[in-house]
Symmetry: C2
Subunit: 143 residues, 2 copies
DNA sequence: AATTAAAACTTGACTCACTCAAGAAAAGGG
DNA sequence: CCCTTTTCTTGAGTGAGTCAAGTTTTAATT
């Protein structure tokens, strides 16, 4: 499905900034807003940062992109939506990768008492160390 | 264990700002920094915001408090540490409650391929609606 | 009790992701 | 093509959090 079709299917107006943005998010999963502004401008110079912020919000609430924001990070976006996948974040360098949920079900969704809350989503973030940072002895934490 | 004992046990210097802060976090689980500054100052007027930020960092990295930050929220803190509990966040009003992991194990921790990452923690945030907001028809905002 | 080095605190400026607001441009149904 | 609505541009503003320099406090040592 092309970006234009995706936008129309979501009843969103098709504009060049939005097309460029959706392409950029597709090509750079987990990119932050700053990077996406850069990517959009490489194709469409002169697009305002506000247009990108507005479009990201529109795309997110239309369900075309998903926004993630691990603690200590700025907002990041991806086009992989509608499945139940989660993320691993490297504590050392901040790298993010996708992780499929093994069971295909939302973990712990129904098993615990939830204080009367009605739950509609379980978001899981795994924290650890990426292969590259694992390979390096100790570039940080030196006393 | 008193706050003073907790600080000493963690090899942290015992200062009045830290004591007041640790008490404040104990008394107000999931409070944000702003609220904690207020709580500390109610007991110790004149404490700088920077002292609270510094102390929160020290307490967090010593493992005496845990920092949580759901998307779209500022940082929040709690003293319940060392167990494997998670959080429910209300999409409507932002209320946060604790949720025990039903199995006592970290969900999905070992089940999925993790792209070579070494995982040390799985953080789960449940999104939904709190009892109060569920009861109200569709009136957005605080009454 | 006095000394001292390191850690913590105060003060105030600053950063940066993100938002707000007003007017200009464009999308798309008539 | 025209018109209404939505979106984009421009530029200022917000606020949680950080940085840096200098002073005070802690607690180990004398």
């Amino acid at each position: 499905m092309s970006s234009e079709e995706s936008l129309r299917a979501a009843a969103l107006r098709v504009t060049r900034p939005r097309l460029a943005l959706l392409e950029a998010v597709r090509e750079h999963p987990h990119a932050d807003t700053e990077s996406l502004i850069g990517a959009v401008r490489s194709e469409l110079p002169g697009v305002s940062h506000q247009a990108v912020y507005d479009s990201l919000r529109a795309l997110t609430s239309a369900g075309l992109v998903r926004r993630i924001q691990p603690s200590g990070s700025v907002a990041r976006y991806e086009t992989r939506v509608g499945d139940n996948h989660h993320h691993v974040v490297c504590r050392s360098c901040g790298a993010i990768a996708d992780v499929d949920c093994a069971t295909g079900e939302t973990p712990c969704l129904t098993a615990s008492p939830t204080q009367g809350f009605t739950i509609d989503e379980a978001e899981v973030i795994f924290w650890g160390t990426c292969p590259e940072c694992s390979a390096q002895p100790a570039t940080e934490g030196t006393p």
